[in-house]
């Protein structure tokens, strides 16, 4: 059975009076692959650094196996970290980088003649050699021992960083956006590689990323964060199919989010029309957010449709077309393999399991409208997102001139 390893209790973190982490409660199980997912500034890296021991939370407790660890420095914790830009030691070769942690003698408390004494424990040379070579084999870098770090490609450096952390046999491996600096192809390869290593070693991975695809592909559990708070915890399927609020729905994949009213269990109204759905447990006539995933929408001839709209833009994406359709002034994104030209009026049909209902939240009305759709939306990573939102209005004005 999975056992709880680390627990954060009411952890808050403030830098210069600015709250970065707001009353976080979270536990991490043995040998699970958990991902902290969110835009930058959401507190995910801060959470990781608290677990690693690089910063102490302003308030709250960090528990390892039920023992308070707040003030234990990083070098005495049984966790190891893979850093964002690897942070390999440039003056050492591959072997020495991996051996680094083993060569540092750990001080351990031992009982000598009934007295507790701090004893330096050194690992014998031969064991170091064996463990390093073993670990290089795990990360598929056999034969690279004598290479210099600057002679390695990004992907190889990545593997050295993983080997360097894992060779110390930590209970938990922390990974801070480890694939961020790699190109797309290599990133996909490393995703499955990381998953394989995690299963082979049987230890807990805590993985920080802002890439939702990466999170969905690798994780057992995803923790979606924003503004220092946990928005949702669940399996990848849960998070994708049953997002808790507009933020999660928008951050994980693409979503059309509409205002609706829940009439009774299994009946929701939007666009002045009642639809059947699979959700229940809402108050009668409760205003809700309705999520419809762009790939779930079926396009039919306009006479047969439950709703009718006009195509305003089509973008070819390889597997499908991103089609923007105007329904009474509200623009939806529909992903379809059939081509419908701009100006065509189409009908759509929504099945009950295409519709997902969420309670209203602070994020309602902020996401899910594709009126300002542009091709860049996918490249819009979290760093530029804030800027885009601020500049968005002025830029649109510019176009109209």
């Amino acid at each position: 059975m999975s056992k709880e390893l680390i627990r954060l209790v009411n952890c808050s973190m403030a830098f210069d009076g600015e709250l970065v982490l707001d009353n976080m409660n979270l536990y991490f199980n043995d040998s699970e692959f958990l991902t902290l997912l969110g835009p930058s500034g959401c507190g995910k890296t801060t959470t990781l650094r608290i677990i690693g021991g690089f910063i102490t939370p302003t308030s709250g407790e960090v528990l390892f196996d039920g023992v308070r660890m707040n003030d234990i420095p990083p070098h005495l914790r049984q966790v190891n970290t893979v850093f964002q830009r690897y942070a390999l030691f440039p003056h050492l070769n591959v072997f020495e980088n991996v051996a680094f942690g083993l060569r540092i003698g750990r001080t351990e408390e031992k009982e000598v003649n009934g007295k507790k004494k701090k004893v330096k424990v050194r690992i014998p040379q031969e064991e170091i050699r064996q463990r390093v070579l073993e670990m290089l084999e795990v990360v598929s870098l056999k034969g690279f021992e004598n290479r210099r770090i600057n002679e390695l490609s990004g992907g190889q450096q990545q593997r050295v960083a993983i080997a360097r952390a894992l060779v110390n046999r930590p209970k938990v491996l922390l990974l801070d956006e480890p694939l961020g600096a790699l190109d797309l192809r290599l990133r996909k390869d490393m995703q499955s590689e990381l998953k394989r290593i995690q299963q082979q070693m049987g230890i807990t991975f805590i993985y920080v990323t802002h890439d939702q695809e990466e999170a969905l592909a690798m994780s057992d559990t995803i923790v979606v964060m924003d503004q220092g708070r946990i928005q949702q915890i669940g399996t990848p399927e849960d998070i994708y199919n049953e997002p808790k609020n507009a933020f999660v729905a928008d951050f994980i994949g693409e979503s059309n989010i509409l205002d609706g009213i829940m009439h009774e269990d299994y009946v929701v109204e939007f666009f002045n029309r009642k639809f059947k759905c699979l959700d229940k447990g809402f108050a009668p006539m409760e205003p809700v957010d309705v999520v419809i995933r762009p790939e779930d929408i079926d396009i039919v001839p306009k006479e047969q449709g439950q709703l009718r709209g006009t195509v305003t833009s089509v973008t070819f994406k390889g597997v499908h077309y991103d089609t923007i359709v105007d329904f009474k002034g509200f623009k939806w994104l529909i992903q379809t393999t059939d081509y419908h030209p701009v100006g065509e009026t189409i009908g759509i049909i929504l099945n009950p399991d295409d519709i997902h209902i969420m309670h209203k939240s602070q994020y309602s009305g902020m996401f899910g409208d594709y009126s300002s759709y542009s091709e860049e939306y996918e490249e819009m990573d979290d760093v530029t997102m804030l800027d885009e939102e601020e500049e968005g209005s002025s830029r649109e004005d510019g176009h109209e001139e």
Partner: protein, 293 residues
């Protein structure tokens, strides 16, 4: 017309170099002059260099220079390196304020530094010596009465060493600081993550990374020390003198070709040190460029 301008600028450049280097070359040439004159060439000879190495005052001041420069360099390099590490871990605003304070002594006129250090030593020592003269400390330990006399202090090798350390530290900080900022901040975290205490991380990771900066800082400090006249002059007192001070006092007595010889040697040493430092820095840059490919 374009050609004319080019010749014009070339002539100008030639003049600049002439005024900069002609005196030095003249000095070096005449240091090999056989005769006593500094104007008329009387044949090649190493006579003045022989004279130089037999002159006991000059040799003593030479040893003083080397000793004070080496000691000042070692101490200033250690202190400056740790200061740079301290600056590095400060907030940006505090750091830039302190860096300005650090830079002032370098742009400050030597004479001001020299006079103010001299004043400081004289004032502090004056107070100390007053205490030493007027108070005798006696105490009883294990039945024996001990009398403690404070030693009198005066300007000398010690004060000069302190002065040299003081004006060398900013140069070390200035050359170590950029190396620290170039370093990946996560390296220290990574070392600690792998079991290092902060001190172990410093010696195993930070030090190898900033070594080039430390070496060039030390070289600059040594050059500045060997080269310094004004500050030494004000802080050395009357009992010790450095090579630069010795040359100055010789020149005041009479212009001897010996001065040419010793100045030439000093010039060559400083040039060698600077060249060595430049070559090293160029190489380091090349290596860095390679690392980033």
């Amino acid at each position: 017309m374009k050609k004319q301008r080019r010749t014009g600028s070339r002539v100008f450049m030639a003049l600049v170099f002439l005024f900069l280097y002609a005196p030095i070359f003249l000095m070096i040439i005449f240091s090999f002059n056989a005769g006593n004159s500094s104007v008329v060439w009387q044949g090649f000879s190493l006579h003045w260099y022989e004279e130089l190495f037999q002159d006991r005052t000059i040799m003593r001041s030479f040893y003083t220079t080397i000793l004070v420069s080496l000691l000042a360099t070692v101490i200033a390099t250690i202190a400056g390196t740790f200061a740079a590490v301290g600056f590095y871990s400060m907030r940006r605003r505090t750091r830039s304020a302190l860096m300005t304070v650090n830079n002032i002594p370098m742009t400050n006129a030597d004479i001001v530094t020299g006079v103010s250090l001299c004043l400081l030593f004289v004032t502090v020592f004056g107070g100390w010596n007053y205490l030493a003269e007027n108070y005798r400390f006696t105490f009883n330990w294990l039945g024996t009465l001990y009398r403690l006399t404070l030693p009198k202090l005066s300007l000398g090798f010690g004060t000069m060493l302190i002065a040299h350390i003081t004006f060398n530290i900013p140069y070390v900080i200035l050359s170590v600081g950029p190396k620290l900022r170039q370093m990946d901040r996560n390296l220290v975290d990574a070392a600690q993550d792998l079991g290092c205490t902060w001190m172990q991380a410093f010696f195993k990771v930070i030090l190898p990374e900033i070594k080039p900066g430390i070496i060039s800082g030390a070289l600059i400090a040594f050059t500045m020390s060997v080269d310094d006249f004004v500050i030494s002059y004000f802080t050395a007192g009357s009992s010790v003198s450095t090579l630069a001070m010795e040359i100055y006092s010789m020149a005041r007595r009479r212009i001897s070709p010996e001065i040419n010889a010793i100045s030439s040697l000093l010039f060559v040493v400083v040039i060698l040190l600077l060249t060595a430092n430049n070559i090293r820095e160029a190489r380091a840059e090349k290596a860095l460029a390679k690392r980033r490919y």
